[in-house]
């Protein structure tokens, strides 16, 4: 009989009783290399040798993606985007994971990985176009090694696993990084992906941003034990990392990707973090969570701790921070301008990519559509 791991805290499950909120799972075996206060700490399994320059680059990433995110939220409020899924609070998880990837690796995001997109060199405007309703993401998934956003929860985990099986067949030393949320861990397809990855020892790493909520539903509804423990049941390692610690995320993800490249199969990473904003701009989190929770998490801000460390250790001059701010302002301007000026797609676009070989039927529908639209222009 498998005893439950000692860290398990079962929560009173009587239906009708309020789901007890956010059991304190934070003490659990979490990899941390930089404390919320900005102190470097060591971890027996994960060390990180990192130059000041690299540290500054990570800081820059964090600040720029946060600024992008803020600008996008503002643009949505002004009606320039249909919706926006904010990454606020999850910058370290995303930048750390993204920067752990080698150029030849491939990432499979959800709909919230703007920070990872950034690290892959995706133009933010190509992400904005999706949320503006211009297309479903304008970047090239092949050229960037960053797949398109997947909105159906969890489906991308199987794609990532299949892609990794292809990597295996090609004999390539590459790894695949599949992103998912805490809520996604309940989807059958996600569990199938883990089963497949284990069965074929596919070079895929599952990177779960446990931001404590699936929209309004707290983690306890999805799992009563820490999520990283799921993996052992499928026969591969799971690890929890402080998701607000960009160094720890980088180190843990790097190690897992390297293991995958070396044929050691999958790893499940639970990045323990928090969604500081609403689920999306359509959401109202005051309905389901307490302000006090937010306050608590503010103390663990992913950017503040890097700034503290950079300043305190002398790895960055004050000027550096100003420069990054200035760059962020420029980025925001570029994003704003690019978004507002983004042309609408050609109406015929919707017919043109349905198939690689368009069917005569669809060609006929397209022709009718064109003629129908033209009839209005004639009228005028």
């Amino acid at each position: 009989m498998t005893a439950l791991p000692e860290t398990t805290e079962l929560v009173d499950p009587v239906p009708g009783a309020a789901a007890p909120h956010l059991p304190d799972q934070r003490g659990v075996d979490t990899v941390q290399l930089l404390t919320p206060e900005g102190d470097r700490v060591e971890h027996p399994d994960y060390s990180l040798d990192i130059s000041d320059e690299e540290l500054r680059a990570l800081y820059r990433d964090l600040v720029l993606v946060r600024r992008w995110d803020a600008e996008a939220t503002a643009l949505q409020r002004q009606g320039e985007l249909g919706i926006w899924a904010s990454l606020l609070g999850q910058e370290a998880a995303q930048v750390g994971a993204g920067r752990a990837l080698a150029d030849t690796d491939t990432a499979f995001p959800t709909y919230r990985e703007h920070g990872v997109a950034w690290t892959r060199g995706v133009d933010p405007l190509h992400v904005m176009s999706l949320f503006r309703g211009v297309d479903n993401g304008g970047w090239d998934p092949v050229a960037t090694g960053f797949n398109l956003y997947t909105i159906v929860i969890g489906s991308q985990c199987l794609h990532a696993t299949g892609y990794a099986m292809g990597v295996q067949r090609d004999g390539a030393e590459q790894a695949v990084l599949a992103f998912l949320g805490d809520g996604a861990t309940s989807q059958g397809e996600v569990n199938e992906a883990m089963i497949w990855a284990a069965s074929f020892a596919a070079p895929v790493v599952f990177f779960c941003q446990n931001n404590q909520y699936a929209i309004s539903v707290p983690l306890e509804r999805q799992s009563r034990v820490p999520l990283y423990q799921r993996a052992a049941g499928f026969g591969f390692p799971g690890v929890r990392v402080d998701g607000n610690d960009v160094l720890a995320v980088l180190a843990v993800t790097r190690a897992a990707l390297q293991a995958a490249r070396e044929g050691q199969g999958p790893t499940f990473i639970e990045a323990f973090t928090y969604r500081m904003g609403a689920h999306t701009t359509s959401d109202d989190p005051t309905r389901y969570r307490l302000a006090s929770e937010l306050e608590e998490w503010k103390l663990r801000d992913p950017i503040a701790r890097v700034k503290a460390y950079l300043s305190r250790s002398g790895a960055a001059e004050p000027q550096f921070f100003d420069d990054v701010e200035a760059e962020a302002d420029e980025l925001a301007v570029r994003i704003r301008r690019g978004t507002v000026e983004m042309p609408d797609p050609a109406p015929t676009e919707m017919f043109d990519h349905v198939h690689a070989e368009q069917t005569p039927e669809l060609a006929a529908q397209r022709a009718e559509f064109v003629a129908y639209r033209a009839s209005f222009e004639e009228e005028q």
Binding site: G133, S186, I215, M350, F376
Partner: protein, 325 residues
């Protein structure tokens, strides 16, 4: 009592009545508790009926439907909310192979009074998978019944009737019309659930619609009237079973028929309706039944959705083509 209600609020009230009437009614879905659902259709219900009757589920649609089957077997009447139309597919196996078939499999020994609420259709400027019209997938499935409401009155009564009904029902809600209002007389005797309804009389062409497109059809009828054309508009209300008697009576009179829906045209509900009306009204038809539907493409990015969705003009265009045939 008469109240002015939006479709959303009418559903909310209807659910509340159903839960008061029958303690076995259990609502299940993602975010339907504290949040009240992303469209607030279940607003306040968990607070009043508790977490055992308004269940925030894990994020897994097969799980929702599969456990609903078990609850139904135990004598409960689960009402499942699918958050958006495009997310019903993970539950498709349970719906098609279990929910739809269990009554037959058990020769009627296992009741399956499950309601699957789905906000359907486009027009809200959403991202991918949030604007789908999957009704044909269900209407083609033996063992399921499919209802599509178009207005607050039918929303209020329909949800209660669907919950009280003994068979599994896919209950389609016209997402982009959630905020449309009407007077609802909560003391009235409702129309039967599985019946279509003439919502506007007319003589030239019979226009059929359901759910969100009923309003569009009525707008078209208004516009046509200005040009001296008289459209009869029928709200189908139920897609399986199809109640075609009023339609056949109408088409025998008008000789012309146009069916409107958002779902892709090929093998959309209009196909079945056209085939049946042609069988029933062959000698009365002056023109083939014409269909105005979504194109046979994935639902496009929202900047193009107005091009994709049938609108007043496309209905009128079909009316013209029918008249000129």
């Amino acid at each position: 009592m008469t109240e002015t209600l939006t479709i959303g609020k009418a559903l909310n009230l209807g659910l509340r009545r159903a839960m008061e009437d029958d303690a076995k009614v259990v609502l299940m879905g993602e975010d339907i508790g504290k949040l009240g659902g992303v469209f607030r259709i279940t607003d306040g219900l968990q607070k009043d009926f508790g977490e055992a009757r308004v269940v925030d589920t894990p994020l897994a649609e097969a799980g929702i439907l599969g456990t609903a089957v078990g609850l139904a077997m135990r004598g409960y009447r689960p009402v499942c909310e699918i958050q958006f139309d495009g997310f019903v597919f993970p539950a498709y196996n349970q719906i098609v192979t279990q929910v739809a078939k269990l009554h037959a499999r058990s020769k009627g020994r296992l009741p399956m009074p499950i309601v699957i609420r789905i906000p359907m259709g486009g027009g809200i400027g959403a991202v991918e998978h949030h604007s789908e019209s999957p009704e044909a997938y269900f209407a083609h499935t033996a063992g399921l019944k499919v209802v599509a409401v178009s207005n607050p009155v039918d929303a209020y009564w329909g949800i209660q009737q669907a919950i009280a009904a003994p068979d599994p029902i896919v209950f389609l809600e016209p997402k982009r019309r959630y905020w449309e209002k009407a007077e609802v007389d909560t003391d009235a005797t409702p129309d039967p659930l599985f019946a279509s309804r003439v919502v506007r009389g007319g003589d030239d062409v019979t226009v059929l619609a359901y759910g969100p497109m009923v309003k569009t059809a009525l707008q078209a009828a208004d516009a046509a009237a200005e040009e001296g054309r008289s459209l009869e508009v029928i709200d189908l209300r139920t897609l399986s079973p199809l109640d075609l008697d009023p339609v056949i009576a109408s088409v025998r009179r008008t000789g012309r028929c146009v069916v409107v829906h958002e779902a892709p045209t090929s093998l959309g509900p209009g196909a079945e309706i056209a085939a049946r009306i042609t069988e029933s009204c062959f000698h009365s038809l002056e023109a083939p039944v014409l269909r105005v539907g979504g194109y046979d493409t994935p639902y496009p990015p929202s900047k193009l959705e107005e091009e994709y969705l049938p609108d007043l003009d496309r209905v009128l265009d079909a009316v013209d083509r029918s008249m000129e045939f």
